[in-house]
Amino acid sequence: MSASALAHHDGPPADYLSDSTVASWLLTTDHKRVGILYMISVTVFFAVGGLIAGLMRLELMTPKGDVLATPDSYNRMFTMHGVIMIFFFLVPAIPSVLGNFLIPLMIGARDLAFPKINLLSWYVYIIGGLMGVWILIFGGIDTGWTFYTPFSTMYSNTMVVTAAVTVFITGFSSILTGLNFVVTVHTMRAPGMTWFRLPLFVWSHYATALIMVLATPVLAISIVLVGLERLFHVGIFDPKLGGDPILFQHLFWFYSHPAVYIMVLPGFAVISEIIPCFARRPIFGYRFIAFASVAIAIFGFLVWGHHMFVSGQSMYAGAVFSILSFLVAIPSAIKVFNWTATLYKGSIKFDTPMLYALGFIGLFTIGGLTGLMLASLAIDVHVHDTYFVVAHFHYIMVGGTTMAYLAGIHFWWPKISGRTYPELWGKLSALLVFVGFNLTFFPQFLLGYLGMPRRYFEYRPEFQVLNVMSTAGASILAVGLIMPLVYLLLSLRQPRNAGPNPWGATGLEWQVESPPTTHNFHEPVLVTCEPYLYSPEEAEREYAHVQHVHSS
């Protein structure tokens, strides 16, 4: 790597894409290339998970389970949809693609602290992913992505152990990425890049990485226990053997609730970069947003019991978990208010990333506030395990994480690829995703309050109208999601036209070429100022000037 940089010393420096042999990609330790490897694989998994979602929605168009599935195949579909979307899309998407690519650039480093471990984490992820696909093809698994015992340990006759191994392996990829980020942020910052000069993107990823390192091992342990119980009947979770099925839920949610924040904190990271850039002004309340990330990461560990209000855990435990859940909502609210305040007195331009980001604010707000309803004990008793919950978590995870991921991909695409994409198509996709999303998932809130339980392949006829609406919305959403795939790939055929900084953004990553050279920076970086030094007034002056030149 350094040799090739030297060899090109006279000519233009090699960018990270220039060596295009397959081996150079598969053996790369360049954080940018690892990011691209992740981008490709995450996209493939998202497509598979999305295809399954489409089949499920087709099935749910009619109340009888007769469109294409038997009960078992439906159960396997929603399990695989959940497993793939959570473990192979939501958890890795933003950190492993954008985080890998951007964190070193943003802090003025050449690479992550452990480049080889970074590549290893991708291989671990791919091995897990291939096993997942293998399960999908050879029989599937029908426990739901939550693997609740004793169904998973005693009653399911599908590939539970293989799935457990898959999730276990994939978890290591997450742990490795988290470790790498924590060490990188601590040790690799350029001179002058103090903690309070870090872009909020880095703050959020730092908080995410802490959760990844601390929570994922618990998932690994619980999933190993499921495997042991299933194979050897050790009697940890099975009441027939003196075990406790609720214990599994405690272990599982002790990971999986913080994991929700592994999914959304990186989303916050992206939005906190995009809003200031397109509003052309410093972010409002930088420190509050930074601390809110850490607060969410900490509180996130304390609320797992809110998944178990009706599980038979003591009602006093329920009361404690409920108040803690209300608490964790507050730092999230801080962020939404701060983003909104950042628009005030800005000079706002509505490019594709900004449209996605604004859509994110709307969807995340609805997702978050319905979370308060679920945190309210008595209401949760009624809507727990119904479509209300399905709607809520899709608002948070698809509306939050997926919108933020798309916003980020559009924002940094010129940096990553060196190309711009057709704005009009980008805006149209943002619009379709937003409309399709709401049409798909809003009816599900009503379905849930009416009482339709989740994981049903057949339902009462009175639920049909809302289900048909939801399926119609899903097809619009699908179109909106496929569009970026097409125009972003097509953009690769045009010459590199993005320039280093097409959005006029601040941030170190915009000071290097697009695409960046292999070694990121030509000379050592020295940071002397705060992030987000945008000026709305200057943006206005430039705009007026451009208008003037155009009209004369």
Binding site: P71, N75, D142, Y148, P150, F151, Y155, S156, P239, P245, R281, I283, F284, G285, R287, F288, V310, S311, G312, M315, G318, A319, S322, F326, A329, I330, A333, F337, A341, L343, Y344, K345, G346, S347, I348, K349, G362, I366, L369, M373, A375, S376, L377, A378, I379, V381, H382, H384, D385, G451, P453, R455, Y456, E458, P461, E462, V465, L466, P536, E540
Partner: protein
């Protein structure tokens, strides 16, 4: 077929209370969503690039503002929390005079046993205006007993008893669902709740001729499984008598120590299935385990019998 409700029936005393809370929270949600939406829209219009507006000195932070939007949501949260927790606790405090019904969930049906003897599957008949208490357990995996029109739900667990109570307020037929995913036919594990006029309910109960009650059945099983041989004061074997035990503290020998546990459903169940775990102080650990010999439904009957002799009078 295309009937299209937007709001579920309100058929229990709990339902209107819950809906009131829900509407309050919905109000808060709509208010905040609208407020954010309006601010975002207003800023987007007013400060769009090229629109003349005052952009001097954009504020970068404000402790006062941050405090406002921390404190207001915090206060609202406390209100929602207190209100919903109050309702939640009510759900677990069944009135003392509630009529008891036993429910066993299994893949994939609900088995319901009325204390007066009649049993049914995937149907639940209850009288209007009387508090009913369900004692529930599962024969296999986790299930969840859910009646949307009553706004109640409770997971049903193998090896444990959970309970649920409600008071129906509207005659009619309502959905009964299993809400915890339980395998292949989870979505078919559904039933109907029939709320009847009390007179109709009494008629229904005795429709098939009044069979033996839960407790009577339990008494029969008590003899059949040879429990009576030891527990009804036989001369040869020394075992504690069970009259008057239910609901009382029982001294348990734990190594050298003695501690007390309350003889509730769970205690009795454990004593039958895992007798060596809890030996009553002063007795030898000689009782055999009845694990895998007595079904969940029979266990419930035996417990009903032991409950029925709680007042100390022998039934011999």
């Amino acid at each position: 077929m295309w009937d299209f409700p937007l709001f579920p029936d309100q058929a229990s005393t709990n339902a209107p209370k819950l809906d009131a809370l829900m509407l309050f929270e919905l109000g808060v949600l709509v208010f905040f969503t609208m407020a954010i939406l309006l601010f975002v829209l207003a800023f987007c219009v007013r400060y769009r690039r090229g629109n003349a507006a005052d952009r001097s000195h954009p504020p970068t932070h404000s402790k006062a503002m941050e405090a406002v939007w921390i404190v207001i949501p915090a206060i609202l949260s406390v209100v929602m929390y207190a209100w919903s927790t109050r309702l939640f606790f009510d759900l677990y405090e069944a009135p003392a005079d509630a009529t008891q019904i036993d429910v066993v969930g299994k893949q994939w049906m609900w088995y319901v046993q009325h204390s007066q003897g009649r049993s049914e599957t995937n149907e639940l008949h209850v009288p209007l205006g009387r508090p009913m208490k369900l004692n529930m357990t599962s024969q296999d995996v986790l299930h969840s007993f859910y009646i949307p029109a009553f706004r109640i739900k409770q997971d049903v667990l193998p090896g444990r008893y959970t309970s649920l109570w409600f008071e129906p307020t509207k005659v009619g037929v309502y959905n009964l669902f299993c809400a915890e995913y339980c395998g292949t036919n989870h979505s078919l594990m559904i039933g109907k709740v029939h709320v009847m006029e009390p007179a109709d309910y009494e008629a229904w109960l005795s429709e098939k001729g009044v069979g033996p009650s839960q407790a009577e059945e339990g008494g029969r099983l008590f003899v059949q499984h040879h429990c009576a041989g030891c527990h009804r004061g036989s001369q040869t074997v020394q075992a504690p008598r069970l009259e008057g035990v239910y609901g009382k503290p029982v001294p348990i020998q734990d190594g050298k120590d003695v501690h007390f546990v309350t003889a509730d459903d769970r205690y009795i169940r454990d004593s039958i299935l895992l007798p060596k775990d809890q030996v009553v102080a002063g007795y030898e650990p000689i009782m055999p385990s009845f694990k895998d010999q007595i079904s969940e439904t029979d266990l419930l009957k035996i417990i009903a019998y032991i409950k029925s002799i709680a007042n100390g009078e022998t039934s011999q």
